[in-house]
């Protein structure tokens, strides 16, 4: 009987108020210290009619390729596409924020709708403010869209660094895709050429990024709207003569 009373007492005294960050050392138990389930690169380009964005469908759990059907590019409102790399749970939280943003925008019922510039600005504020509180959303976001004929493409990092460009890439794409895009991107790319350019980048990432998987989606946004392709895989090339017997002349090397 006494034991049960003690149990009840303890239950009532245990909850700790974690609110005051300045005084309470355990108050930062809620921050994201490191990511768990992560998405790798996003690569996006402006083209003749709008923006093309490519990503693979992988969610890595450390070095394990745990999830292979994660959509990392989503439509936002009527005029924008959001792609995310980094922690997937944080991306899902951002989508919830944007849902609320779009909902409130629609409730005005004034015929106006959020364009990509506005969404990008909102996301920049969110990311930067979280960074200032040492509780970042562990993502690098790519925001592309078209409104009233104006084609827009930008990105925001987890520390709030934000900019626009004709072509962007996150994660490994920074190192592997950017050089290709700098060399081969043109303002008047057709849809076909844009897709081929993105596929060229994605193939290199597949070869050289440990966390890449061979299952990708390419999303397109134009004045007409958003379309996201079905998931598909790319062919890879392994038939270099040098690959067949690389150590023939040097036993024990790699």
């Amino acid at each position: 009987m006494l034991l049960i009373l003690w149990g009840v007492l303890i239950q009532f005294t245990i909850p700790i108020d974690n609110g005051d960050a300045l005084k309470n050392a355990e108050a930062d138990s809620q921050r994201t210290l490191y990511p768990y389930v992560t998405g790798t690169s996003i690569v996006a380009i402006k083209y003749k009619d709008g923006v093309l964005m490519a990503s693979d469908m992988g969610g890595s759990y450390g070095s394990t390729l745990r999830y292979k059907n994660i959509e990392r590019v989503k439509a936002i409102g009527k005029h924008s596409l959001l792609g995310a790399s980094g922690e997937i749970s944080d991306f899902q939280e951002i989508l919830r924020y944007l849902d609320e943003l779009v909902l409130n925008d629609n409730m005005w019922d004034d015929g106006n709708s959020l364009g990509p510039k506005e969404v990008h600005n909102y996301l920049t504020r969110v990311m930067y403010n979280r960074r200032n509180k040492f509780n970042p959303l562990w993502n690098t976001l790519v925001l592309g869209g078209v409104k009233n004929g104006e084609i827009y493409l930008g990105m925001v990092s987890m520390i709030g660094v934000s900019f626009e460009d004709n072509h962007v890439a996150t994660g490994f794409g920074n190192h592997l895709a950017r050089p290709i895009l700098r060399d081969e991107w043109r303002a008047d790319l057709s849809f076909e050429d844009g897709v081929k350019l993105l596929e060229k980048c994605m193939r290199v990432l597949l070869y050289r990024d440990r966390s890449a998987i061979n299952k990708l989606q390419i999303a397109k946004i134009t004045e007409e709207g958003v379309t996201v392709s079905q998931p598909y895989s790319l062919k890879t090339f392994w038939e270099f003569q040098a690959f067949h017997n690389p150590t023939a002349g040097a036993q024990g090397s790699w």
């Binding site: 490994f172 920074n174 897709v195 050289r208 990024d209 690389p246 036993q251």
Partner: protein
Amino acid sequence: MDLNLDAPHSMGTTIIGVTYNGGVVLGADSRTSTGMYVANRASDKITQLTDNVYVCRSGSAADSQVVSDYVRYFLHQHTIQLGQPATVKVSANLIRMLAYNNKNMLQTGLIVGGWDKYEGGKIYGVPLGGTVVEQPFAIGGSGSSYLYGFFDQAWKENMTKEEAEQLVVKAVSLAIARDGASGGVVRTVIINSEGVTRNFYPGDKLQLWHEELEPQNSLLDILNAAGPEPMAI
């Protein structure tokens, strides 16, 4: 995103050695990484020690290379002195000697496999620390975590050469599907009384697993094949 190009070259790896009725089959993936970057996507991790003994290397690329270089050198001398091919057991013990006596400095797990006239086909696992374990089959490297259940179910005694090689290729392929540190092509080496056969299975020749799709040349081919409603969700 941290590329960390100064990280030591590590072969995340999946390595396998399997005995069958008449010899052994050794298998490995071909990915060598520096941090998260794939430094070599077509490495050869199955290294020759003698005509009849090979070793699968995992862990630090440098450590495993230098250990196998030393052992090749010792075995060469040993073969001359002995007047006949070295046995698999001797090769494994030389590996063990280096691995054990330098255990504080080395970070490499090895699988020694081969055929000799006394014992036939043999596989010896030499994990971190320098333990030697003779086994009917051995798995190693980061990708092996994903294969323990698979081998518990799929391994059988007295397989044929074809069955053994198929098992190895399937296993490495499954590990590649889930281990980010393994990838590329599957290489196998079959050793028996007749000699040594090297095989090469590129990524696109392997079976597709769960949530993997048939590779295409381009999205454009899919869209054109689909007909007049392209890019519909």
